[in-house]
């Protein structure tokens, strides 16, 4: 198959099976159309059009997924665009999750932009572009394309993080994110170069075959040093993208500064795409080297679990808390990644790989929970996106019982309380760790879940068991200087952070959808298990087919 692959890619213009790429194309073209339309009809820049268009695009892309799914189930997985993209159930599952993240983010953005008085389809265009980059990343079988996808995904998000022009925090976040992102991209690219140097190809199946075709263990360079160093650099690049410790440093600052709806996308869509790319590269391309990279995954997992759960305890800002919580979640997903390969890296069916199922289930569960959480956060944060401290959530149950109730559902889900989707996500991950006999990993994951629960409960307690803080007390907390106090107080009164919270309809609807899904999947965790196991099978098959 490899010979055929290389000869094909030597052709000048690869034939493209557009039907299989429909979801990806729809998102990208949707973005281009949106900017075009709103340039021609400036009036459409305002109001609900951009959000509506984006949601429609996401829904259509999601709908087209089912057609592609049917196609794949009839004809089997396909390699398109000169084998650079692999369209299989696994890819489609991740694509679906990304569409979901786009849907949520767009719904939250609508009310957010109106409140913050930003007009403009740019936000949505960048969102759609970023999502299409994520899709490329998830599907890519060519390291070059993987890099392209990663950059499309990231650069759009760098810009999105800084788009709240009136908040210096937002721009600071974008700047930090960009610089550190550039650093990690450089490392990533260097890793690709080394892999290419070692194997003579950037195609993942090719990388895999080079190794397995040499039973003597010889690659063109007669040893593995280059490929191992390349793998290390790729791991660093992905680790940065999914905010795994010790590459997590940017996360709290960026989550705190970036506009809340964008954080919802960063936490769900970007992270899922990052993990999808990571497991594809390492499982499909470096499946032979499982014994080399698996320990590192477990180290990253343990570091993320510990750092995420412990540092969250010291925070007083809800968005920062959630940033650390997302690091803990990254740790959980890394545990699932660790569970994908069996000892030695070979297995025949997905039935045995609880890790693959756990990872994919976690994608979906995490998207629902975290999007919902940041959805509520972006509503509560109030005018100026500033009310994000723990004190701002005090007494929310009294001022807005609906929001507090929904938030509680998401927080309980993230904490892994039974009857929510979060419980099953964590449960599956821990079961997969037990199945691969990684008892230490399972134990640390359980402990981290307990410690992390404190963080979520702190927010819940704040919302339900305390009264809201009077404005004066808040001001004193903010600054010790009396005149500054008055200023802050006046500002707060003017801005109305403590005033009644305005709940946008689209945002609320999306949050409710997420909450209902959180509960339904919590009560009926077997729902759609066929889809899940198909996708997990496909993920496992990536390694076996090569």
């Amino acid at each position: 198959m490899l010979a055929q692959t290389t000869s094909e890619s030597a052709g000048i213009v690869p034939s493209v099976d557009w039907a299989l790429l429909a979801p990806l194309v729809i998102l990208a073209v949707g973005g281009i159309l949106l900017i075009t339309i709103s340039s021609i009809f400036p009036r459409l820049r305002f109001g609900g059009f951009p959000a509506g268009f984006t949601i429609l695009t996401a829904v259509i892309a999601g709908g087209s997924l089912t057609r592609v799914w049917n196609d794949v189930s009839e004809n089997g997985p396909a390699w398109v665009v000169a084998n650079a993209l692999g369209i299989d159930f696994y890819t489609l599952f991740v694509w679906g999750t990304i569409c979901l993240a786009v849907f949520f983010c767009a719904a939250f953005l609508d009310g957010y932009l109106r409140r913050e008085a930003f007009d403009g389809p740019e936000w949505y265009v960048l969102l759609l572009m970023s999502a299409s980059g994520g899709m490329i990343l998830a599907a890519s079988q060519d390291l070059i394309l993987t890099f392209v996808g990663l950059e499309i995904l990231s650069i759009a998000v760098y810009v999105l993080a800084g788009l709240h022009l009136r908040r210096s925090d937002s721009q600071e976040a974008a700047f930090k994110y960009f610089i550190l992102g550039a650093l990690s991209s450089a490392l990533f690219l260097y890793g690709i170069a080394l892999v290419y140097g070692a194997t003579g190809t950037t195609l993942l199946p090719g990388v895999a075959v080079v190794r397995t075709d040499n039973p003597a263990g010889l690659n063109p360079l007669e040893d593995s040093s280059m490929i191992l160093v390349g793998m290390a650099l790729l791991m660093i690049g992905f680790g940065f993208k999914v905010s795994a410790a010790p590459f997590h440093f940017w996360t709290p600052d960026v989550y705190e500064g970036a506009p809340s709806p964008i954080v919802a996308f960063m936490a769900s869509g970007v992270k899922v795409a990052g993990f999808a790319g990571m497991i594809r590269v390492f499982w499909q391309g470096f499946g032979f080297y499982v014994a080399d990279w698996k320990p590192i995954v477990s180290v990253l997992a343990i570091a993320s679990l510990i750092v995420g759960s412990l540092l969250a305890l010291a925070q007083t800002n809800v968005k920062r808390m959630l940033a650390y919580s997302s690091i803990t979640h990254a740790g959980f997903m890394l545990v699932a990644v660790h569970g994908v390969p069996y000892e030695g890296g070979f297995r025949t069916t997905a039935e045995e790989s609880l890790g693959a199922q756990a990872l994919l289930f976690y994608f979906l569960a995490y998207t629902l929970m975290v999007a919902g959480t940041f959805g509520v956060a972006s509503i509560v944060s109030g005018n100026g996106d500033a009310a994000t401290s723990l004190d701002d959530y005090r007494g929310l149950a009294k001022t807005s019982p609906v929001l507090a109730g929904l938030m509680a559902i998401f927080l309980f889900a993230q904490a892994g309380i039974p009857f929510t989707v979060g419980f099953w996500a964590k449960f599956r991950v821990i079961v997969s760790a037990v199945q691969t006999e990684s008892y230490i990993l399972a134990g640390i994951a359980m402990l981290a879940a307990v410690v992390a629960a404190v963080l979520y409960l702190r927010i819940v307690v704040s919302m339900f068991l305390t009264d809201s803080v009077p404005a004066v007390a808040l001001a004193v907390d903010d600054d010790d200087l009396p005149e500054a106090n008055e200023e802050v107080q006046a500002e707060r009164a003017e801005v109305g952070t403590l005033g009644p919270i305005v709940i946008p309809r689209a945002g609320l609807a999306a949050v409710v959808i997420a909450a209902v899904a959180t509960i339904v999947f919590g009560l009926l965790p077997g729902l759609g298990s066929g889809v899940l196991s198909d996708a997990a099978d496909a993920l496992i098959a990536l390694r076996i087919s090569s």
């Binding site: 700047f175 930090k176 160093v229 290390a232 600052d253 590192i296 412990l310 540092l311 305890l313 404190v454």
Partner: protein, 791 residues
């Protein structure tokens, strides 16, 4: 038609949701009718499924209807599925059938309750949970139903939670059932580890893969669960207290359906029991038999109409356990069905009586009610004949079947079990006859004062005498004061007399010493004159005052005498009041009420009010279910008549669910007839005995109703004493351990973590260069690992 099975639980569930959201708006009685109809739809669906199932060959009557995959984690996969087989459909038929009747009855019974619609919300949820329990195709879904019915039971026992006793009874039921649930869960876990599945299909067909030891442990664990739910020794204590709930709840949940789920569970798992070592059957049988006997003795001495039925239920459930223990699954289910009919009938009848007497539950204050409530009385009598084992009523056939199988059983002590069973049957006939006589025949006692009222009346009388005495005391005190005053007056007068005589002497001396020639002589004589006159005047006044004193003293004495007599009266009345004992003596049909001649005028209002209201027959919504149930209780024996193989309908019907584990009778026809005739004779004797004690007063009932029986042999009391005494100390120890050691460790960890978190915060200064440094350090570490792998 079998495909309709999913609708059976769906209807009550829909009713629950509908009423949950709109119940209050629908109000009374619409909410009740909605609930009744949803339960009725479920019954109709069940009947359709039954017809469909009956139309199939016996070997194919086992359908698993998978609705969706519920949980799927690795090899642990549980479907949300229904198992449609003769056993589950039989259960569903009487759950929905009896359930519908009780729903309808409740419309009348709960009339005027402020939480009318809430009651039906719970009732529908209960029916849905109960259906999930029996219709589930795996242990997990059964457990969901198991807990669901437990929760509904808890909510309904404490439905009138304003009264602390009701809330406590609910909690007691809940806590006691938790003990049993541990058994259920452990049994499930053990089955899963042994068979890697908790689907009934796997368990039932692959039970021979279990070793006898494991099967025995599983059986005992599920027995523990069943004993909790079905109120067997030693976990029965919650059921009598559960009577605190509204009577329809007692009938539906605590007699006909929920409490039989333990019997159902053991029957469902019959292949596991068959695989277990033989002693497990003996354990089940003996627990059942002892429970049956124990509860029957207690029922003899109860005075609360519902308590009698509660202990009777415990006792009858004991029969079912006995049947299962000896491998007589069909008789167990047969008895479960007939019991559901007649016990629901009896409970509803008692509810009708309670309703008619405005809440009175004490049988000592009933009597002669057949005049006032003919329908209730007639149907109750049918229920009585059924439970007492009088042919041809249903109870006779099912109970006789159990006794026959017990006689025939080949387990150790089989004949002893039979003796226990027949003694229980005797007692059952006795206490039920007692109940019928005390409730419906003999003197009418509903208007008699209660013990509380009598005590109140005596207290009133003592009060009135006391206030009387207080008046006398006051008068006496006044008279005493008058005497004092008169005495003071006398003293004053005496002083005046003394002074006047002094004056006289001095005047006389003055006159004697003076001469007539003196100027003042005339004056002095005048003074002497005056003094001479004043003397007698003062003396008259003194004697008058003395007379007054006498009079005052007389009056005082008189009043004192009166006071003493009144005080004597107080003592007398108090003595009387103290001597009036709360009469807890057993009552018979002819017992006259307490003597109230002494206190007639002092009885409280509740008594006088009652004299004006007469017991009344209940409305049609209540009597129609009674009549239907009475008909069923009378003829349900037809389900499984012992005369020929062909009349064993139930046995043939249940065959596919029992996998040939039913015990096969080896007794001859003559033995069967002999046993049946003996059982009839026993029932007749017991009924005759009860009549002679309670109707004709030939024997003093206090010789039969012993203290121990009335107090349920102090079992409950000893539990309370233990958990309040040594148990409490133990719990305190645990609590201390938890507070100091466990919480201490937790708090220590939490403090440590917080400290660690705060210290780690220093690594996050907010500067890009330090972040880049962090990434660089991480990168170097990872690179070193991979480079280390090269060599």
């Amino acid at each position: 038609m079998i495909d309709l099975a999913f609708l059976i639980p769906l209807f009550p569930l829909a009713g629950f949701l509908l009423l949950f959201f709109f119940g209050r708006r629908l109000g009374e009685p619409v909410a009740g009718w909605v609930a009744t109809f949803f339960c009725g739809f479920s019954f109709v669906t069940t009947a359709l499924v039954f017809i469909g199932l009956a139309g199939e060959p016996s070997s194919e009557r086992f359908h698993v209807q998978k609705l969706f995959t519920w949980i799927s984690v690795g090899s642990f996969e549980v479907d949300f599925g229904l198992l449609v087989d003769p056993l589950s459909i039989t259960m569903c038929l009487f759950i929905t059938g009896v359930g519908s009747l009780i729903h309808m009855y409740s419309i009348g019974y709960m009339h005027g309750d402020p939480n009318f619609s809430k009651f039906f919300v719970y009732l529908n949820l209960f029916v849905a949970s109960m259906i999930f329990l029996v219709l589930s195709d795996n242990l997990l879904l059964t457990f969901l139903g198991w807990e669901g019915v437990g929760a509904c039971s808890y909510l309904l026992i404490s439905f009138w939670f304003d009264d602390a006793a009701n809330a406590t009874a609910g909690k007691k039921a809940f806590v006691t059932n938790r003990i049993g649930d541990v058994g259920f869960m452990l049994g499930t876990f053990l089955l899963f580890t042994s068979l890697s599945s908790i689907n009934y299909e796997d368990i039932l067909t692959r039970s021979d893969e279990l070793t006898p030891q494991v099967a025995s442990i599983v059986a005992v664990l599920f027995l523990l669960g069943a004993a909790g739910k079905s109120a067997q020794l030693p976990l029965y204590v919650w059921l009598p207290d559960a009577m605190a709930g509204p009577t329809p709840v007692s009938a539906l949940i605590h007699a006909a359906t929920m409490v039989t789920s333990g019997v159902f569970l053991l029957t469902r798992l019959n292949p596991v029991l068959a695989q277990a070592e033989t002693w497990t059957g003996g354990v089940i049988a003996w627990i059942g038999a002892l429970t049956a006997l124990f509860a029957a003795t207690v029922a003899v001495a109860q005075t609360d109409i519902k308590k009698v039925l509660a202990y009777s239920t415990v006792s009858q459930l004991g029969y079912m356990f006995l049947a299962i223990g000896v491998g007589a699954y069909v008789p167990a289910i047969f008895h479960m069905i007939t019991h559901a009919f007649f016990k629901a009938l009896l409970f509803l009848g008692s509810g009708s009586v309670i309703h008619g007497l405005n809440g009175e539950q004490d049988m000592r204050r009933m009597g002669g009610l057949q005049k006032y409530m003919p329908v209730t009385a007639f149907t109750f009598i049918v229920g009585w004949l059924a439970i007492a084992g009088v042919p041809p009523f249903s109870g006779f056939w099912s109970k006789d079947e159990i006794l026959l199988y017990t006689w025939d059983a080949d387990i150790a002590g089989g004949k002893a079990l039979w003796v226990v069973g027949i003694v229980t049957a005797l007692l059952t006939a006795f206490y039920m006859t007692r109940q019928v006589i005390l409730t419906f025949f003999g003197e009418t006692r509903y208007f008699q004062p209660t013990n509380e009222e009598i005590q109140q009346a005596w207290a009133n009388r003592v009060d009135s005498v006391r206030s009387d005495a207080a008046g006398h005391q006051e008068a006496f005190a006044k008279l005493e004061a008058a005497t004092e005053k008169a005495l003071a007056d006398v003293a004053k007068r005496e002083a005046a007399v003394a002074k006047s005589s002094e004056d006289l002497i001095s005047a006389e001396l003055a006159v004697a010493s003076a001469s007539e020639s003196d100027d003042g002589y005339e004056k002095l004589t005048k003074a002497l004159d005056k003094a001479t006159k004043a003397g007698p005047k003062a003396e008259t006044a003194l004697s008058k005052a003395q007379e007054k004193v006498e009079a005052a003293r007389d009056a005082q004495r008189e009043s004192e005498e009166e006071l003493i007599s009144v005080q004597a009266q107080i003592l007398e009345v108090e003595n009387l009041a103290n001597r009036v004992e709360v009469s807890n003596a057993p009552v018979t049909a002819g017992s006259a009420g307490p003597d109230i001649s002494e206190i007639e005028d002092y009885l409280p209002e509740s008594y006088t009010d009652r004299q004006d209201s007469e017991p009344h027959e209940s409305p049609a919504t209540m009597t129609v279910p009674l009549i239907v149930l009475a008909a069923l209780a009378a003829v349900a024996g037809l389900l499984n008549l012992p005369f020929a193989k062909s009349t064993h309908f139930l046995e043939h019907w249940l065959e596919p669910s029992l996998f040939g584990n039913e015990h096969h009778l080896s007794s001859s026809g003559a033995t069967k007839w002999g046993l049946a005739i003996f059982a009839i004779a026993c029932a007749a004797t017991a009924i005759f005995a009860a009549f002679s004690v309670y109707r004709n007063n030939r024997v003093d009932p206090s010789k039969i109703e012993l203290d121990g029986m009335a107090n349920a042999w102090w079992v409950d009391q000893s539990y309370a004493d233990f958990f309040g005494g040594p148990g409490r100390a133990l719990f305190n120890l645990f609590a201390w351990f938890d507070r100091t050691i466990v919480d201490g460790a937790v708090m220590g960890f939490s403090k440590g973590f917080s400290w660690f978190g705060r210290s780690m915060k220093l690594l996050q200064p907010g500067l890009v260069r330090s972040y880049a440094l962090g990434i660089a350090v991480g990168s170097i570490l990872i690179m070193s690992w991979f480079i280390g792998r090269i060599y």
